[in-house]
Symmetry: C2
Subunit: 346 residues, 2 copies
């Protein structure tokens, strides 16, 4: 069971190594008959070219680096699944870089750069320092971001449509008759949360409901803090009858805050979240929330990456002038209505 090499295939097919190589790399300048023949023996012997050897010879590798944040995210699983489903049909492999420092991808990028292994980098990011990524990009390594970034960065990215998602969630509450709707807001520095907050405000304005700044609570997406802040607000005479939380975990905290006051959800207080993490279908009451299309986001990002590193590879063949280099795609979200929202109390 010796490892079979290009030389073996060449001998077996009665051609030179060069020809085999050209076949492998889809060169057009090889006779169709020869190509078929070579392909046949390749298949027969189950030959797979050595990735390391070809990387060395080509000067570029067939690895895509994927940088993921550390512990935090439940969504990484779904995102990754999407990425895997497209990459598994290509000769590329994913090298996983897990950042043990969630606020700075610097060390991880250094490592990547040093190894020179990655043909491109997929980055799942939140509020990490962007500088290292921009450096990467400037050094000619394609970078595709998964998740929202500030618009001042010109890196290709795929994200959920946070703005429209938030609008939809708030409109749902408005439709149910709610007028005093609180926002359990995430970090003001996170672009995704800025978009969600804008969506919240615009939906209100559009419905003719004036914006009351005291109804926006800066929870930083930390459940304990969210619970505490909302508990304060719920004690007030003109308490809100609904809350739009910037993510599911703080929505859970909102339910706890309601319980702290003996308020029932949704009879006394409606709650809508954002993300639709797996547990949201199971909490009591089941959470109405904005579902992000994580799997699709991952798949899309992977396709953009492939297009960026091997333009010939078809698929996303460059609609805009820079290939997909500066694309910024926003995928639609879906409002999942469950049991945590209901008509505004009389």
């Amino acid at each position: 069971m010796e490892k079979i090499t290009i030389r073996d295939i060449a001998r077996l097919a009665g051609v030179s190594k060069s020809t085999v190589s050209l076949v492998i790399n889809n060169s057009p300048r090889v006779d169709p008959a020869t190509r078929r023949h070579v392909l046949a023996v390749i298949r027969r012997y189950n030959y797979v070219p050595s990735a390391t050897a070809s990387a060395l010879a080509k000067g570029r590798s067939s690895f895509i680096g994927m940088i993921v944040p550390g512990l935090t995210w439940q969504m990484v699983a779904a995102l990754n699944y999407g990425v895997a489903s497209v990459i598994e049909r290509t000769p590329y492999e994913i090298i996983l870089y897990t950042s043990t420092n969630d606020h700075d991808y610097g060390p991880v990028i250094d490592r990547m750069l040093a190894s020179g292994l990655s043909a491109g980098v997929l980055v799942i990011s939140q509020d990490q320092a962007m500088k290292p990524l921009l450096d990467l990009h400037e050094q000619g390594v394609p970078v595709v971001l998964i998740n929202t970034l500030g618009s001042h960065f010109d890196l290709p990215s795929v994200e959920a449509d946070n703005y429209e998602g938030a609008c939809g969630a708030v409109r749902h509450l408005l439709d149910l008759g709610h007028r005093r709707i609180a926002s359990l807001a995430g970090p003001t520095t996170w672009p995704c949360c800025q978009d969600r907050q804008r969506g919240y405000e615009d939906a209100l304005t559009e419905a003719g409901v004036p914006i009351d700044a005291s109804l926006t609570l800066q929870s930083g997406l930390e459940p304990p803090r969210a619970r505490e802040l909302l508990r304060g607000l719920l004690g007030l005479p003109d308490r809100p009858t609904a809350v739009f939380a910037h993510n599911d975990n703080t929505a859970y905290a909102a339910m706890e805050a309601a319980a702290d006051h003996g308020l029932r959800v949704p009879a006394d207080l409606s709650v809508v979240g954002f993300d639709d993490i797996p547990s949201s279908a199971h909490v009591k009451p089941a959470l109405t929330t904005v579902s992000q299309p994580f799997e699709a986001m991952g798949a899309r990002a992977a396709r953009m990456m492939l297009a960026a590193i091997s333009p010939e590879s078809g698929e996303g063949s460059a609609p805009d002038e820079h290939g997909l280099a500066s694309a910024r795609v926003r995928l639609p979200t879906t409002l999942i209505v469950r049991d945590s929202t209901g008509p505004a109390p009389a």
Copy 2:
């Protein structure tokens, strides 16, 4: 900013490429002074050897494959974090193989084998077919399993102590005065669930409580099914006063089943889960559950892998005769007591 190579370092240091290589690979047969000097220039020029070139020359690579199941698991994140924290201090990189077929790792293994890229494989598995993994192992590729396997497999593995974890959970219920305790069991074919079930039964027996088979519900770990089965059981006159669920998601289902009957948790029914996934701290009532040390499990597995692929690398230097090749480590769990368990009703 040309890529700097071993030849550059050799020239800069005034030695041969061979010597530089020996230094890089920690060969003992190089003069300490020379070594210091070479190391200095390596550092000064920030030289990192090409992973592809050395893989090619050595005939083995510095990649560790990690196979993860598809969508399912929230714990993969924590596991991965543990793995990353140890691998990041070595020259190894992780190649991520995501199985889009959760029941058969065959395709993924084929791919891995074909590329010949991985020096070893870390596998997060549940009830996948073991055959491909055993083949791998037989071909001399070190395999370390994360998670429980049938004891009939002789692959090194790290798992949580499911048996003791279950015992602890059930003893907690017994201490609270419960005597009729249901088990919301997982697939009988999954070794981890077999262990949990044994723990449940042994804890009962040890307390002198006879085992009532009708109290064990085969939920298959599917929440809807768990809810339905338990709802049936709770309608009976001698209903259980507590339930031990084999994982958190079915514990949530148990709470729903209780609500279906208007039973309060924990006043009328105590519920304990297994896993301690992130949301369990936030559900209402917060779930008492057995916490698995995912991060530690990942780290441990990574260390075992390193020991297997580079025995010289110290760390876990082989306590048993086969190195760590046949080790089977079981890490302790922790019972997290929260609000879903309380004294048995009078």
